[in-house]
Structure formats: structure tokens, C-alpha cells
């Protein structure tokens, strides 16, 4: 065990010197290690974050000077902008979809694959590969597959399969779930690999004990597996919540928020306002509200943790 007590056998002079060195080693050196990354973060994260806070209070076009307009951008968000409300609702729907479907799929997939020994690597790689594909490739791949005239859907349609004569990305009622499905296809394999790694850290004795107590497969999953992977599970729920409010790429590539705003989310609004309509100040205000919602999610987790939840 390390101690900070000054060795008594040293002379008084050397004790002072030793204390100085100890202070430097314990208080200064760690900061020197952190300093490079801290500097980068201050420049590329804190700086833009603070400037976004400032620009949210201006009418900045994104080019040239900015005029201070107080809280007018936030007033506009709350009272005028119906597209903001629509986008926020879509973000909530997206959050619900991603807190349930991919996590459930990943849990089931990991549970099924955990005991597999022969060909385990093949299955894991196959399910993980979509995660490493660039989003633009995945999006365009699925866009082609879902083409009602030329893709798989079109092939099924030609063979008279009912319900296949529709363009899923072209209808207001189906566009958001369809993009979520595509995003989920690339995402859930990553979750599964994480859960699988966590499951393999659970001591086999626990399963053996559960079986001796008469537990079936479901009981084992509920009472041994889930508690065993809880830190990973909860962390991924937290990250999914955060990422759901930041989602952008698949929606932008596939529909740019259309048709008729049916797939518009807050990040799309930020982009359009900042880069298409020269309202960078207003875009900053929307961005700040996104940070606020993400902050709420993080606060919920902090509160639960302080109340003793093991997360």
C-alpha cells in the first residue's frame, strides 16, 4: 500500500525535498499526462460549445457578424416552429424504438450465441460486420433492396406477394420505422458483441447453482444473466438514449427528413437551419435544446446511481 508519510529516517532537509517531489509526482504529473487531451478538448469541444451558447442568443447567419437578440430564438422554438415539435416527437419515437428493438435483439442473440462453441467466431463476425460498414453504404444498399420496382421488394411484388407494392421510404406512415430498421440492422450486432463479452464474464458456477435450484432457461436469463451484465446493459441504454437524440446520418442520406417532414429529427433541423437557410444562430439554439434533453437523460442516471442503483 502506498503511503504519503515522510520517511522518518531522512534528515529534515531531505524530508522537505521528498515532500516536494511527492507533491509533484502525485499532484502535477497526472495533470501533465492529461494536459494534451485536455487542451484538445478545450479547443474543439469547450470552445465551440461556449460559442454555440453565445450564438444561440444571436441572429447569426453563419457568415459575418452576429446581432444579439436575447432569448428570441428559444421563443421561436417554443411558440412558432411547428417543425421543431414534429422533429422532437420523431426523436422520442426513435428513442423508444432504439431502447427496445436492438437491445432485445442483442440480448436474445447474445444468449443464443453464448453457449455456441463450433462456428462461434463465424456467427459473431457475420452479425458484427454491418457495424463496420460506412453508413452511406448501408443506407444505399437498403435503399436499393427496398426499391419497390427493382429491389427485393420489387422481386416479391412481381411474384404477387401481397403488401409489397409500396415504397416504404416514400410513405409518411412507414418512413421512420423503415429508416430505424436500417439503422438497427447495422447497430444491433455491435450491442450483441458487447453483451456477449459481458455474459462470458459471468461465473459458470452461478448457472450451475441456478440449475440445481431447478431454474429453467428463462429463470437463468432473468436471475443470473441480466444481473451479471447489468453494468454493460445500463451503460448501453444510457448511450442509446444519448445517441438517439443525435441521430443524423441514415435519415439525411435516405430522406433528408421527408416526405413532408415525416422523418425529420432535431439534428436534421439543425443542419438545415445552419447550412441551407443561413440561420446558424437559430440552429445553435436548437442544438442547445438537444444538449438539454441529453442532459436530462444523464441526470436520470446520476440520480438513480445516487439512490443506490448498481448502474
Amino acid at each position: 500500500m502506498q503511503t504519503t508519510t515522510t520517511p522518518a529516517y531522512l534528515s529534515r532537509e531531505r524530508q522537505v525535498s521528498w515532500r516536494k517531489r511527492a507533491f509533484f509526482r502525485k499532484k502535477v504529473v497526472p495533470w501533465l499526462f492529461v494536459l494534451p487531451i485536455l487542451t484538445i478538448n478545450v479547443v474543439v469541444v469547450l470552445g465551440p460549445a461556449l460559442s454555440a451558447g453565445y450564438y444561440a442568443l444571436t441572429d447569426w447567419s453563419g457568415i459575418g457578424s452576429a446581432n444579439f437578440i436575447g432569448l428570441d430564438n428559444f421563443r421561436r422554438i417554443i411558440t412558432e416552429d411547428s417543425s421543431y415539435r414534429g422533429a422532437f416527437v420523431n426523436n422520442l419515437l426513435w428513442l423508444c424504438m432504439f431502447l427496445t428493438v436492438p437491445i432485445a435483439m442483442a440480448l436474445v442473440g447474445a444468449s443464443v450465441l453464448a453457449p455456441v462453441r463450433r462456428g462461434a467466431l463465424f456467427f459473431r463476425m457475420t452479425l458484427f460486420v454491418p457495424y463496420v460498414l460506412p453508413s452511406v453504404i448501408v443506407a444505399n444498399l437498403w435503399r436499393s433492396l427496398l426499391d419497390p420496382d427493382r429491389g427485393i421488394i420489387g422481386w416479391l411484388n412481381d411474384r404477387g406477394v401481397p403488401g409489397t407494392d409500396i415504397a416504404l421510404l416514400g410513405r409518411q406512415s412507414t418512413v421512420l420505422p423503415t429508416i430505424a430498421f436500417i439503422d438497427n440492422w447495422h447497430w444491433w450486432g455491435f450491442l450483441m458483441v458487447l453483451f456477449l463479452a459481458a455474459m462470458q464474464n459471468i461465473p459458470p458456477d452461478l448457472y450451475e447453482a441456478a440449475r440445481l435450484d431447478g431454474a429453467n432457461r428463462w429463470n437463468e436469463f432473468r436471475d443470473v444473466t441480466l444481473p451479471g451484465i447489468r453494468p454493460v446493459l445500463v451503460f448501453m441504454i444510457l448511450m442509446t438514449g444519448i445517441w438517439s437524440f443525435l441521430t443524423f446520418d441514415y435519415i439525411w442520406i435516405l430522406t433528408q427528413g421527408g416526405p413532408a417532414g415525416a422523418s425529420e429529427v432535431l439534428s436534421i433541423l439543425v443542419y438545415k437551419n445552419a447550412f441551407q437557410t443561413f440561420q446558424a444562430g437559430y440552429a445553435s439554439a436548437i442544438g442547445l435544446t438537444m444538449s438539454f434533453f441529453v442532459g436530462i437523460i444523464i441526470c436520470i442516471f446520476i440520480v438513480l446511481r445516487r439512490r443506490g442503483w448498481e448502474i
Binding site: G62, D147, I166, A167
Partner: protein, 449 residues
């Protein structure tokens, strides 16, 4: 006897030589700085690098070879506009500033990032080579800041072979267009090969065409200058007609197909006779030639007519695909102006059109300079120039509407087509946004009629 040089330290000798040659060196460098200039020109490659490389081969390299004092350094840039805007904000960027249109150049000029061009325009006689309305588009606060390039218009392309087989005649009025579309639809053929899957702003092509050709460009001019409202009944009935087309599933066979069909598929269906017509810009000519003809696997021909209007008169809505300006921070404004004069000369613009398929700038190009160009395309350019010289032109939304109104036009019209709002509500919303931009003085320059 040791000489002076031998007696002195070699280092001293070197110093003496340096001191003797320094003035000459400084003078030489000053002369170079005055006479020789290297200017930076970024070429956008978002749609592929072919056109950019063609411009380098046919314009920039010959210019560099013939010029004794100016060298143009061409850099290929993906997402050229975003890169340019970011660089300009940081006080850097290319010497030749290219934007996607007058409204973008307007924003840069307002922010003091562009250099006024009036003196260069006078020195190099730009007003004589450009068509009368063209340079007006670049005026901000009574000063010229940008030169328009790539003058575009929209026409009605059609499958001429299909029309001939079915005895259909290309329409000249909107009523004829509606009647013909109904007939084509009844024959089991898609009337219009339209889609916005790869370019969502494609919506604005149709809104703009129906506003100009249904209500007339004079009324559009009055609305753009704030004299009449966008809720005028003439605009309402024009967009009702467009909405009727969408509700009849005439665009690609249905709204969902309109939102999802790939652009290549629309051309293929038009060329193969699965669709009959297509309202699109002059930029589509290259694709029309790619998808029609024996090399493409069909024996069909394409034809074009002006987009029909309510009066039956030929109207060409003018659009500007890009603008050119000089960076406020350039070290060689004279050199950039000289290069721009070369670039916008009729000969170079003709070369760009013939060799690179580039839509020419609004300069007077002699017909003989366009030899080698597809005769149908040359005809479009000729007709459009004649119409614009006579003042018979309309206004494309991406050139003459301010940014927020423009985005509103192509995004919110989808709510009309989906039935969420009426045409009147849509136009009322446009009026609200437009009024805000009008009050803020953000309307791009509108040439007087």
C-alpha cells in the same frame, strides 16, 4: 603575396557577396511579386471529378501555358461550397470564390468577404460580353460582387418516338399538358418521369414552373418585389394544378414512387417508353443522350419543347447554377480579374459547353462556336438567349428567392401533396417567411422587367 581574398576569412567573403547581391535579390523578388501571381481556384467534385478535370484540361492548363505572369492552381474539392465557406470564415480560402448561386454570393458580400468588381467590370468590358440582365444579379448595395455562371432553364423533355407512335403532340398550354397527361395515363404509361429521391429540392422545379407558367412571370416579378402577395388567386390556381397532377399519381406513378425512385431509373423509364415526359433543367441533356439511342439499348429519340404556359407563350425560367467572385483577402485581385475575363469569354464558355457539357454562362456565344454540341441543346441555348434578351424570361426559385423562402418552397409543398395543408395555407406560410426576409433586406437582386 596573399591576395585580399586569401587573407580574409572565407566567412567574411561570403558575407560580402551576400551584401552585394541582397539589393538585387530584393528588387527581383519585388518585381516577381508585382508581375507573377499564382491564384487558387477550387473546383467542386461533389457530382464527380469528370467535369472538373475537363475544365482543368481545356481551360486552366491552356491559360497557364499562354500566360506569362499568372498561374492558376486548380484544386479539386468535394463539397466545394462548404469548404469555401469555412475557409472564407477563417480569413483564407481560394482567390476565385465560387458559390452555388446569387443568394449565396449575396450573403458573402454582406459579410464583407468578397471584393467589389465594378472597376474590373469597367476595365475588362464585362458588361458588353454578358447578357443585359446577368450582371444585375451580382449587385449588392449598388456594387457588383459576383458574376453569374451556368445559366440554366427548365424545359419539357419527351420521348419523341413514343409520342410519334401514339400520335401525341407536344403541348404548348398547361390545359393541353393536363389533357395529354390524362391520355397518357389512360394508356398505362407514366406521364412524368419525376422523382426527388436523390435531390429533394427537385420539388421546387415544379413549384417554380407552375408559378411562372401558370400565373405568369410578370406577376412573379411583382410578388418578388413585394408588390403583390403570394396568396394571389393566380398563384393558388397554378399550384392547385400541380397538386392535381400529384394526386392523380402522374409523377412516377404515385407520391411514394416520386419520393423513392432513383434518378437513373427515371431516365431509363423515359427512354424505354415506360414514362412519356420530364420537366427538368438543361443540365439533363447529357443524361438524355446517355439513356436514349442504340448505345443505351433502345432506338428512341428525345425531343424538347418549352414548358407549357397558361397563355401558350414560350417562357424560359432563368436560373444560375453558380457565381464567381474575388476573395476579399486575395493578394492578386488583378490576376484573378484577368483570369475571370478569360474564363467568361465567349470562346472559353463555348469550349466548356462543347468539350465538358458545362452549361454556359450568360454571355453572347456565336452559334458557330457551339459546333459539335447536340443540336437540340444548341437550340435550347439559342431559344433561351433570344427569350431572355427580349425580356421574356421567368424566375427560378433557387436563384431569385431568398434562402428561407426557397427551402420553405421545396420542403412544405410536400405537406400540400400529403393533404396536411391546403395550397392557400402553403402560400400564406410562404408569404410570412418571405415578408420576414423582405423586411430584413435579404431578397437577392431581381433584374427589372
Amino acid at each position: 603575396m596573399r591576395t585580399f581574398v586569401q587573407r580574409r576569412n572565407p566567412l567574411t567573403l561570403l558575407l560580402v557577396i551576400l551584401l552585394l547581391t541582397l539589393p538585387a535579390s530584393i528588387a527581383g523578388r519585388a518585381a516577381l511579386a508585382q508581375d507573377d501571381a499564382t491564384i487558387e481556384f477550387w473546383l467542386d467534385t461533389t457530382g464527380g471529378a469528370d467535369t472538373a478535370n475537363c475544365i482543368i484540361d481545356n481551360v486552366i492548363n491552356p491559360f497557364n501555358e499562354q500566360s506569362e505572369s499568372i498561374q492558376v492552381r486548380a484544386t479539386l474539392q468535394a463539397n466545394g461550397w462548404d469548404a469555401t465557406r469555412t475557409a472564407l470564415a477563417g480569413g483564407a480560402g481560394p482567390d476565385v470564390v465560387v458559390t452555388p448561386g446569387p443568394s449565396f454570393a449575396y450573403e458573402l458580400a454582406q459579410a464583407g468577404q468578397l471584393m467589389p468588381l465594378d472597376d474590373f467590370a469597367e476595365e475588362y468590358g464585362w458588361s458588353e460580353s454578358f447578357t443585359p440582365w446577368a450582371l444585375q444579379l451580382g449587385i449588392v448595395n449598388d456594387q457588383l460582387y459576383s458574376i453569374p455562371s451556368e445559366v440554366e432553364t427548365l424545359v419539357l423533355y419527351y420521348n419523341a418516338t413514343l409520342f410519334e407512335e401514339n400520335g401525341w403532340t407536344p403541348p404548348t398550354t398547361l390545359e393541353e399538358l393536363m389533357a395529354l397527361a390524362e391520355e397518357i395515363d389512360a394508356a398505362g404509361i407514366i406521364p412524368f418521369a419525376h422523382s426527388n429521391a436523390e435531390w429533394r429540392p427537385a420539388n421546387e422545379w415544379f413549384v417554380g414552373e407552375f408559378l411562372n407558367h401558370g400565373a405568369g412571370p410578370d406577376l412573379v416579378y411583382q410578388a418578388l418585389t413585394g408588390e403583390v402577395q403570394w396568396t394571389d388567386p393566380a398563384f393558388v390556381s397554378a399550384l392547385e394544378m400541380l397538386n392535381e397532377m400529384q394526386q392523380n399519381d402522374w409523377f412516377m406513378g404515385g407520391l411514394d414512387r416520386y419520393y423513392t425512385t432513383q434518378t437513373a431509373t427515371t431516365y431509363a423509364m423515359l427512354a424505354e417508353g415506360e414514362a412519356a415526359m420530364k420537366i427538368e433543367g438543361t443540365w439533363a441533356v447529357t443524361d438524355m443522350n446517355t439513356y436514349f439511342g442504340e448505345e443505351a439499348g433502345n432506338a428512341n429519340e428525345w425531343g424538347w419543347v418549352p414548358v407549357p404556359s397558361s397563355s401558350g407563350e414560350a417562357i424560359y425560367d432563368i436560373g444560375i447554377g453558380s457565381t464567381y467572385s474575388i476573395n476579399q483577402n486575395t493578394e492578386s485581385p488583378e490576376a484573378v480579374a484577368e483570369f475571370l475575363t478569360h474564363l467568361f469569354s465567349p470562346e472559353v464558355q463555348a469550349t466548356l459547353a462543347v468539350e465538358c457539357g458545362q452549361v454556359p454562362a450568360p454571355v453572347e456565344i456565336p452559334a458557330e462556336a457551339l459546333e459539335g454540341l447536340d443540336p437540340r441543346y444548341a437550340d435550347i441555348i439559342d431559344q433561351m438567349n433570344t427569350a431572355s434578351d427580349a425580356g421574356d424570361y421567368g424566375y427560378t426559385t433557387w436563384t431569385f428567392w431568398p434562402p428561407r423562402s426557397d427551402v420553405y418552397i421545396y420542403e412544405e409543398v410536400e405537406r400540400v401533396w400529403s393533404g396536411d395543408i391546403t395550397v392557400e395555407e402553403y402560400l400564406q406560410g410562404l408569404q410570412t417567411v418571405f415578408d420576414e426576409e423582405l423586411q430584413a433586406g435579404e431578397i437577392p437582386p431581381i433584374p427589372e422587367r
